[in-house]
């Protein structure tokens, strides 16, 4: 055996971090892989079909379709948020997984960015699952719906970076309840997922525009409906700036947590 001359390339380092998370996820394939397909079915059956009968069609689409177009995004948000709060915290504090990885030729930045890419991948997969179970029922229109997983990936990156910032402040795991109940859940109802934002009073409309979830939801719906407009550029810019800013803060703050 000989030692390689040099440490692995950046791409290989990021891939190996991503691969670690994928490998651990895959080791419980049934319990990890099935719920993403079942959950949207339950949600759409319960809320969409049940409640949808009392709600008139929104413009040209039935309510259940309106709701389903936002669902790939919200499910991507939730999975990335879980991954980068509870998941990251457990790896960090209880299993000491990162301590092990930082003994190998991996930097803190590689570690965090690899984690974000993995959360993005989960966002993609979960969004794909929503599309996969709704398309056969004709709920999400094709071919626009095929773009949804990619928006799921970007949503995953957004909420991975935000969640990592939150995690960098957390000392006790139960603190995450504030983030989920106090921020993510209310945002679900204020980001144009369950009803169109146009109906809201002005103040709430501005608030909704400030919230991160609004923008990928709008993008996803526009893609599904194939209604592209220049106004969507604002959403794209918001998303890019959000990932960059939160990602930067997460890197800075988690570094202090990982390196003594």
């Amino acid at each position: 055996m000989t030692t390689r001359d040099s440490y692995p390339s950046l791409a290989m380092r990021l891939y190996s971090v991503w691969y670690r998370h994928m490998r651990v996820y895959r080791s419980n394939l049934l319990s990890n892989g099935l719920p993403p397909f079942l959950e949207p079915l339950i949600f759409l059956a319960g809320i969409g079909l049940g409640l949808g009968r009392y709600v008139p069609a929104f413009g040209s689409v039935p309510y259940v379709t309106f709701l389903a177009m936002g669902l790939p995004v919200t499910t991507a948000m939730m999975t990335a948020s879980f991954e980068c709060t509870f998941g990251t915290f457990i790896n960090l504090e209880f299993h000491k997984v990162y301590d092990g990885m930082l003994a190998a030729p991996i930097t803190v930045n590689n570690l965090i960015i690899g984690e974000m890419l993995w959360a993005g991948t989960k966002g993609f997969f979960f969004a794909f699952a929503v599309v996969a179970v709704t398309v056969p029922f004709g709920i999400i229109p094709l071919p626009g719906g095929l773009i949804a997983p990619f928006i799921g990936f970007i949503t995953g990156l957004m909420f991975a970076s935000l969640s990592l910032v939150v995690t960098s402040y957390v000392k006790t795991i139960s603190f995450f309840n504030f983030y989920f109940t106090g921020f993510l859940s209310p945002m679900f109802f204020l980001s144009g997922v369950v009803y169109p934002l146009e109906e809201l009073p002005d103040a709430l409309k501005y608030l909704a525009e400030a919230l991160p979830l609004t923008h990928p939801v709008r993008l996803a719906r526009a893609m599904c409906m194939r209604q592209l407009s220049a106004a969507l550029l604002f959403d794209v810019l918001y998303i890019a700036a959000f990932i960059t800013l939160c990602g930067y803060v997460a890197l800075k703050r988690l570094r202090r947590r990982l390196i003594d």
């Binding site: 440490y7 691969y19 299993h95 092990g100 003994a103 190998a104 030729p105 003594d260």
Partner: protein, 310 residues
């Protein structure tokens, strides 16, 4: 002369107001086993973390850490590529089996495909884990987990191995087996930096060692030399304190050094006659007369006070 593997000069490390490492300097030669000894909180683990860039030293122009030509603080990738770390905690991936743990880690070094397979197969055999190849981590005993962690640290054929209390909590059989493995690695030219609370382990493995206390070096040398030079040859442990009255008058003799812990009186001397004479006044079950060891030196240099702050 061979260049040193690790050079540490005037290194300080503070956590808030606590100085964990306080102006430490030492040099580890290539292919030697170097021991960092000291009570809990002495700064051993912090020093080790600084060697592989898991901790950063306080900024100071005099402070130097050089590992095979690289500064771990600024070139962590170069350093981590060349060394393997056996940490104090078991940080294996509990969801995966033995083989998967190793192949996952091999990727971190850029080892894939058949090169990884060969390296992993070889290490599983060397560490006597062949029967457990497909076992989940939670099915392993403490000794197996340790061996797996050592195997993991050896994946990239490192030049330096960092061992933070590698045998703590293991039974004597496993400990001796691990010592043998480490001796083999040393023979193959791997440099080792070792911390341990077992003085016997340090004595068995280390070519050189330092004893640290409160972040500073107290004493440095080869274990045998230190025993010859820095501590009396023999110890008389008097375990029944009530019997010390009988020998009270001897305690002022310049030939001996007495050290009282809560329940035991330890009398040190290089003059066996003097100790024999004291022992002759005691009942047989009340004392042990033995050769001094590294533990006695450790206690002599770091004191008996507990320092669990770290």
């Amino acid at each position: 002369m061979q260049p040193s593997a690790i050079t540490v000069r005037s290194v300080y490390k503070s956590f808030g107001k606590t100085r964990a490492v306080n102006g430490l300097s030492f040099t580890v030669k290539q292919a030697e086993c170097f021991g960092l000894l000291g009570p809990n909180g002495a700064g051993k683990t912090t020093m080790m973390k600084m060697v592989y860039g898991k901790a950063e030293r306080d900024a100071s122009p005099e402070g130097v850490i050089n590992v095979l030509g690289f500064d771990p603080q600024y070139n962590p990738l170069n350093v981590r590529h060349l060394l393997g770390v056996v940490p104090q905690d078991d940080n294996l991936d509990g969801e995966l089996n033995v083989y998967q743990n190793l192949s996952l880690f091999a990727k971190f070094y850029g080892l894939t495909g058949s090169a990884a397979e060969i390296a992993i197969g070889h290490l599983i055999e060397t560490m006597e884990l062949t029967d457990k190849k497909r076992s989940k981590i939670r099915e392993l005993s403490g000794g197996m987990k340790r061996r797996l962690i050592i195997a993991r640290a050896l994946l990239n054929n490192p030049k330096i191995l960092i061992l933070d209390e590698p045998t703590t909590g293991l039974d004597p059989q496993v400990r001796h087996m691990i010592w043998d493995k480490l001796r083999l690695m040393k023979k193959s030219g791997i440099t080792m930096l070792l911390t341990t609370h077992y003085m016997e382990e340090a004595f068995q493995l280390c070519d050189n060692l330092i004893i640290m206390h409160k972040g500073q070096m107290i004493i440095e040398g080869q274990p045998r030399e230190l025993l010859a030079k820095s501590i009396e040859k023999y110890v008389l442990d008097i375990v029944n304190k009530d019997s010390t009255d009988k020998i009270f008058d001897c305690l002022n003799s310049p030939a001996i050094r007495a050290d009282l812990s809560t329940e035991t009186l330890h009398i040190y001397s290089s003059n066996i006659e003097a100790l024999n004479e004291i022992a002759s006044r005691l009942k047989p079950g009340d004392y042990f007369l033995r050769a001094a060891n590294l533990e006695d030196l450790f206690i002599k240099t770091t004191g008996r006070a507990l320092d669990d702050a770290g």
